[in-house]
């Protein structure tokens, strides 16, 4: 019982008549364990074709399941041979196969790769996404007004939980990355500056680059990867588990309870994270500058306010707020659009992070153009 007997075929010819006896186990597992399973059907098929009036005997078959029977049936060209010896159980199995109605189903083929349709589809999808994004922004405005009108009934708990998750918990990674980037930047600039004898300009380079550009961008990219994906996955799983529908049924607005708290949380945490990243990046730069160029901490700190007009700091923090809002909106947008299956969840999360980072960089470019006369 425990060991599967390999399926076997025995052929005997007498007086021009051919009898074929099948033996062993004709089950999925036995067939899988038998090396010639794939060839077996072809062999049987050949047998079924060549001798017109062969007698088939399944008396030696210990066990026959639907898969084994299907194999034999296909070998028989989907019809019962004239002479066949079956017991009742086997006949029932074949009856089921005879009763199979595969109409209305055929194997689906994967669509061929076609650059034109793909381009068209992505353009259409882009416009659709933009339209939905605008709707979402409008909804957010209404929600914010509602919140401003009755702040005591706002989702304070969600906001504070989200600030903790996207802000406080991101302190470690932003500190590490910020510090290292500061060190790298300072190290690379140091050599060039020394060649020109302009070592003290390290303060200008570091201060300007970090406070105006790198700090906000680094923080935004890290947060987009870290919290953007988390938000998308969280909302996406809520779709999979029908929690979103449950909220709708209870009359709890998705916009007010899911999107707005996250947008507010990111708008609050991002500038703080930017300041934190700036601080650590400057610290890293300062450390490297001292080691490479012998510039003392005191000198660095004294020079910094002169080298970098304070407008840059406000600009950097302002960018943080905008980036935070954009990341939250992108993440929520993709989260709400996830379909209830695992594949869509994966695609949605990936798309969310990629889009969030792209959007942040586009926004950064717009900032650069708009504020080209400020603080330089």
């Amino acid at each position: 019982m425990d060991r599967q007997a390999t399926p076997a075929v025995e052929i005997s010819r007498q007086d021009g008549a051919c009898s074929i006896a099948l033996q062993g186990d004709w089950t999925a597992l036995a067939l899988a364990g038998c090396h010639e399973a794939r060839g077996l059907r072809a062999r049987l098929h050949a047998l079924a074709q060549a001798p017109e009036h062969a007698t088939w005997s399944l008396a030696g078959v210990n066990r026959l399941d639907h898969i084994g029977a299907q194999l034999i049936w296909q070998a028989w060209n989907n019809k019962m041979p004239a002479h066949v010896d079956l017991n009742d159980g086997q006949r029932r199995v074949f009856d089921r196969i005879v009763g199979l109605r595969p109409e209305g189903w055929k194997k689906r083929m994967v669509d061929r790769f076609n650059p034109v349709t793909i381009l068209g589809a992505s353009l259409l999808s882009l416009f659709a996404q933009l339209a939905i994004g605008v709707t979402m922004l409008g909804q957010l405005t209404f929600d914010l007004l509602r919140f401003a009108r009755a702040p005591q009934r706002g989702p304070w708990r969600e906001i504070s939980a989200n600030i903790f998750n996207v802000g406080y918990k991101a302190l470690g990674i932003t500190a590490l990355v910020g510090f290292l980037i500061g060190v790298v930047l300072s190290y690379l600039s140091a050599n060039q500056l020394r060649t020109y004898g302009a070592s003290t300009f390290i303060v200008n380079i570091l201060g300007m680059a970090v406070i105006r550009e790198l700090g906000p961008l680094l923080a935004a990219i890290l947060v987009a990867g870290r919290s953007g994906s988390a938000i998308t996955a969280q909302i996406g799983v809520m779709r999979v588990t029908e929690e979103l529908d449950a909220m709708s049924v209870m009359g709890i607005s998705h916009g007010f309870r899911l999107i707005m708290p996250r947008v507010i949380a990111l708008a609050v945490s991002m500038p703080l994270l930017v300041a934190w990243t700036d601080l650590l990046a400057l610290l890293g730069g300062m450390t490297a500058a001292r080691l490479q160029l012998d510039i003392s901490y005191a000198f660095f700190l004294r020079q910094l306010p002169d080298a970098v007009p304070v407008a840059n700091l406000w600009l950097g923090l302002g960018k943080g707020v905008v980036f935070g809002i954009l990341i939250a909106l992108t993440a929520c947008h993709f989260g709400l659009r996830i379909k209830p299956n695992t594949q869509s969840l994966g695609q949605g999360t990936t798309a969310s992070v990629v889009t969030a980072i792209t959007v942040v960089i586009i926004a950064d470019a717009i900032f650069a153009i708009l504020f080209k006369d400020v603080g330089l």
């Binding site: 999925a28 597992l29 067939l31 595969p102 209305g104």
Partner: protein, 281 residues
């Protein structure tokens, strides 16, 4: 249904033997000294209150979790000590229908059913497709449903597809976790008929967790009652009902239960086949 004709367990081949099984999560004892036997060809129902550890017991038996202590033998082998290849061979001999279906949401219905067969990596694909369609028809769905995605299915259809997948390799043993929970009465009657038919045709052994007394009465040869972290009784339903224990009294002698138990046939059945024939209930 001619239930009381069952021979006692020791005269028949036990394919699952659980001995002194203990499962603890931290300080929380869920199962405390479970002994359970399942014989070939029978339908054993495990009943118990919500949270009494029925699903936990099932998860130990199929090797999804390791028991804290005690031994489990399925087909005479202990899943915990087997080498991976042997364990795989063992796993191919049973199927499990999960409580919520656990269908692969990224695959269509037919791909879900075909998956266990494809995993054998030995059968030609058109054979697999035909066999999957057959399984689909076996559980009462049609070829039209083959391309649907799990998220588009109704609760009853999910249960049926899950059963079809559990039966894909035509295992000797199937575990059903709450197979009729959430189905309407008609659908659960259909399900009962289906299981009976499959049992007759495929010679299945069934271990079923259920809350549904009607299903319990209609299908089980024996019932194991799980309460207070132990098996209170494992016997044909008629005998289980006589055990004096608050849980059993409440469970089987309440008004609802009485209504369901009326479906139990009179003690002297005609024809003592060990397996009930399908049909009336």
């Amino acid at each position: 249904m001619n239930a009381p004709a069952n021979p006692s367990p020791d005269r028949r081949e036990a394919i699952i033997e659980v001995r002194q099984l203990v499962k603890r999560y931290g300080d929380n004892v869920v199962l405390d000294g479970i002994d359970l036997d399942v014989c070939r060809g029978e339908v054993l129902s495990i009943v118990g209150g919500s949270g009494s550890g029925k699903t936990v017991l099932l998860r130990q038996i199929v090797g999804l979790e390791r028991p804290t202590s005690g031994s489990i033998k399925v087909f005479g082998e202990n899943p915990a000590t087997l080498r991976p290849a042997q364990l795989q061979a063992l796993r191919n001999r049973w199927g499990l229908q999960f409580q919520r279906g656990a269908l692969f949401s990224a695959l269509s219905v037919i791909d879900n059913i075909a998956l266990p067969m494809r995993e054998l990596r030995a059968l030609p694909d058109n054979l697999i497709c035909q066999a999957s369609l057959l399984k689909l028809q076996l559980v009462g769905l049609s070829a039209k449903d083959a391309d649907k995605m799990p998220s588009d299915l109704s609760g009853g259809m999910i249960k049926r597809v899950a059963l079809a997948r559990a039966l894909a390799l035509e295992p000797e043993l199937v575990f059903l976790d709450e197979p009729t929970a959430g189905l309407d009465p008609m659908a659960s009657d259909d399900y009962v008929t289906l299981i009976r038919e499959l049992r007759r045709e495929l010679g299945l052994t069934v271990v079923m967790i259920t809350h549904d007394l009607d299903t319990l009465v209609a299908l089980s040869d024996r019932v194991a009652v799980l309460a207070d972290h132990k098996i209170l009784a494992q016997a044909p339903l008629r005998e289980v009902v006589k055990v004096d224990h608050p849980f059993i009294r409440e469970y089987f002698l309440g008004e609802r239960a009485q209504r369901a138990l009326q479906a139990l046939p009179a003690p002297a059945p005609a024809g003592d086949a060990p397996r009930p024939q399908s049909g009336e209930a």
